[in-house]
């Protein structure tokens, strides 16, 4: 543990002046000396002295998605607002990107928003000289749609939540609070996800008698073919099948207005033992999947026939999985730690056999290195230790939008110098991690239940990859047990070398003595 006096020395630069940096540092310092007081109280005290500005408008920001358009684009948008029938075509002809085109469409209905995107894509596809616009729009559209739909879902949830509250459904909600916490980001076992849908919707069928066909979901729950073929279904088929059957009922319930929807949801919640908000999310997820129902059904058919999926189908499947994962609540209720658009992008990467060669070319790396990283980062499932009270899970890494974006840009050969450096860092980390994992190291250490955190001990593949990525910083390297160093140093150095090549002279000079010696031996063996 660091001593307080050294901390003060560290921050003396901030404290010397009367500027904001000093203020922020001073705001935190007492909190660290007296850990019993919450730091936020000090922060609040600091904030209290600052001039107040206008009240934060809750709905101000999360409207739609687009970069700041140039002035001439603004002018165009006034002329060709997305509400106009031929707007998409006009905007495409004028070279306006999809994001820019949607800049002034904040008040638009969701349906019109979706229709405009479809029109834009069609117009761009039909205009060969605007091929770049089409490609850009095709990549951007899923994230734009997801962001907009998430906003709509949120508004709907807020309205129904208010109704549920009014109906004194708090007792039902409270059940979630006592449920053991679940690290949502680590739940990726798809076959666990079909069950809550099947279970809840069989209740829908009981609850609303004319929905007898929802009994089909029992098939989904039992893992046998819904088409009566009796063929065992894989988890993905069950998941998608279940949600697709749920969707019409979900849409019907949710369309009935907040009051009626809340009554239905409360009834389902009572029967299923799930909370109102949880049932609501379940219905929203099913509805979201049905929006891509045709693509998903086609994807399943292709999978069953042993055919490869298109990028669009793969992305839709990834998004469907992400929606279904959201059905799992943490101890606090429903926390969305799953980025639906990013999960779709990861799935498209998983199903893309041609990207490794392109990424390798863009980054100037050997194919086998990029192949190894892709396998580790996107394709493989990992046994991940979880948080106190949770069992380890076997799962893909949770999708991160920025990683997918870097990878995709490298594949397309349009990566900026800064992004290239970021991707090199990522590739270095993942390459080291993959090689160490192949040597039998655990990916992560479990969380220390006494500390409530996962401390850095320098023995897991992830920790050692972090050290290698940072050029074997002596402070971190000193924390690694000697036996771990002996067993893994060469593999770490080789993995770094494979991505970054030789260290520069200044970096080599700063390497810890044992690392430098091993590195020089590595160079000698490679004839350098």
């Amino acid at each position: 543990m660091r001593r307080p006096e050294s901390r003060h020395a560290t921050r003396s630069r901030f404290e010397a002046g009367s500027d904001g940096a000093g203020v922020a540092a001073a705001a935190l310092r007492p909190a660290q000396r007296q850990s019993s007081r919450r730091a936020s109280e000090h922060l609040d005290a600091w904030i209290a002295g600052a001039p107040r500005t206008t009240t934060f408008p809750a709905e101000l920001f999360a409207r739609t998605s687009c970069p700041t358009p140039a002035a001439d684009v603004h002018d165009l948008q006034r002329i060709a607002s997305p509400q106009r029938a031929n707007a998409a075509e006009l905007l495409v002809r004028s070279g306006v990107s999809l994001r820019d085109a949607l800049a002034n469409s904040h008040e638009q209905e969701l349906e019109a928003f979706e229709r405009f995107i479809a029109d834009y894509l069609a117009a761009a596809a039909a205009t060969p000289e605007r091929r770049a616009l089409y490609e850009d729009a095709r990549l951007a559209a899923p994230a734009l749609l997801e962001a907009r739909r998430a906003l709509e879902d949120r508004r709907e949830r807020e309205a129904i939540d208010r109704e549920l509250g009014r109906m004194q459904a708090e007792a039902t909600k409270a059940r979630l609070v006592v449920r053991p916490p679940l690290a949502v980001q680590q739940v990726a076992v798809v076959n666990e996800l079909a069950e809550p849908v099947a279970k809840a919707v069989s209740f829908v069928a009981d609850f609303v008698p004319y929905l007898g066909q929802a009994k089909l979901l029992l098939e989904a729950g039992s893992g046998r073919s819904m088409m009566g073929l009796g063929r065992p279904l894989d988890a993905e088929e069950r998941m998608v099948g279940a949600a697709v059957v749920v969707a019409p009922f979900a849409a019907r319930i949710l369309k009935a207005g907040a009051g009626a929807a809340a009554r239905s949801i409360a009834a389902i919640a009572t029967k299923t033992g799930r909370s109102g908000p949880e049932v609501l999310r379940l219905l929203q997820s099913a509805r979201a999947m049905e929006r891509e129902g045709a693509v998903l059904r086609d994807a399943l058919e292709r999978t069953q026939a042993g055919n490869a999926l298109t990028a669009e189908q793969a992305a839709a499947l990834g998004r469907a999985r992400a929606h279904m994962r959201q059905l799992y609540a943490t101890g606090s209720g429903l926390i969305d730690n799953i980025d639906v658009a990013a999960e779709g992008a990861y799935e498209a990467i998983r199903r893309n056999p041609g990207d490794v060669a392109k990424v390798a070319t863009t980054m100037g790396l050997p194919m086998e290195v990029v192949e190894r990283v892709k396998k580790h980062l996107f394709l493989e499932k990992h046994t991940l230790s979880t948080f106190p009270g949770q069992r380890p899970v076997v799962a893909h890494f949770v999708a991160e939008e920025s990683y997918a974006a870097l990878w995709t840009k490298a594949e397309r050969g349009v990566i900026s110098p800064n992004e290239r450096r970021q991707l090199m860092d990522l590739l270095t980390h993942e390459n080291v991690e993959a090689r160490l994992k192949a040597r039998g190291l655990a990916l992560l250490e479990p969380v220390d239940p006494k500390l409530g955190q996962r401390p850095f001990r320098g023995v897991s593949a992830h920790d050692l990859a972090a050290i290698a990525e940072r050029n074997f910083d002596p402070r971190l390297w000193a924390r690694v047990p000697e036996s771990t160093k002996k067993q893994n140093l060469r593999a770490m150095l080789e993995a770094v070398y494979e991505v970054r090549g030789p260290f520069g002279p200044d970096v080599e000079q700063k390497l810890p003595v044992d690392v430098r010696a091993e590195y020089q031996e590595l160079l000698r063996q490679r004839g350098r």
């Binding site: 921050r11 500027d19 922020a24 999360a62 409207r63 998605s65 700041t68 997801e146 969305d336 401390p455």
Partner: protein, 167 residues
């Protein structure tokens, strides 16, 4: 007492990210208190992705589109590029996460300067305090890594639970 865009920029430029000590407990400590505050504030307008430490590029694009001019965007990008260059001198930072956070903080800062965002609602304030104390952040698949003298990982959903209670 005013905490302006320029002052925030200076703080981020001068922060010693490698120096924060590991607190005794992963969940109940001043740093996680600040992160709870961050989550609480950002949840008001980034609810769907609240458990992720940086707002996503998509969310940022929303803010750009609604409130900032193209000049603002270019200015922020220039500043972010400069900050990332400075950041290269630090050993223990994750450039992907930190670049996203820098961008978000500068964006919020402009909004505060223009009185479009109340200071008490500004998510960058607790984050800047975390930076000022010598820590940087990295979103990872298994939690949230906090990097000071050494890294440690906490469960963001644990922080969110606390943030939800306070909301």
């Amino acid at each position: 007492m005013n905490f302006t865009y320029e002052q925030r920029l200076r703080l981020m430029r001068e922060a010693r990210f490698d120096t924060g000590a590991v607190p005794e407990h992963g969940v109940m400590n001043p740093i996680s208190d600040l992160l709870v505050e961050y989550y609480r504030r950002v949840a008001r307008f980034d609810e769907p992705r609240v458990a992720r430490i940086p707002p996503t590029p998509e969310t940022l694009r929303c803010w750009f589109a609604r409130h900032l001019t193209s000049e603002d965007g270019a200015r922020i990008e220039d500043e972010v590029t400069g900050l990332c260059e400075d950041l290269r001198k630090c050993v223990y930072v994750d450039f992907i996460t930190m670049e996203a956070l820098f961008r978000a903080i500068l964006l919020w800062s402009l909004l505060v300067d223009r009185k479009q965002l109340a200071l008490e609602d500004d998510p960058s304030v607790p984050l800047l305090s975390v930076f000022a104390a010598g820590y940087s952040l990295k979103w990872v698949s298994h939690g949230l890594e906090i990097w000071g003298e050494v890294p440690w990982t906490i469960d963001p959903s644990e922080l969110m639970r606390r943030a939800e209670v306070r909301r």
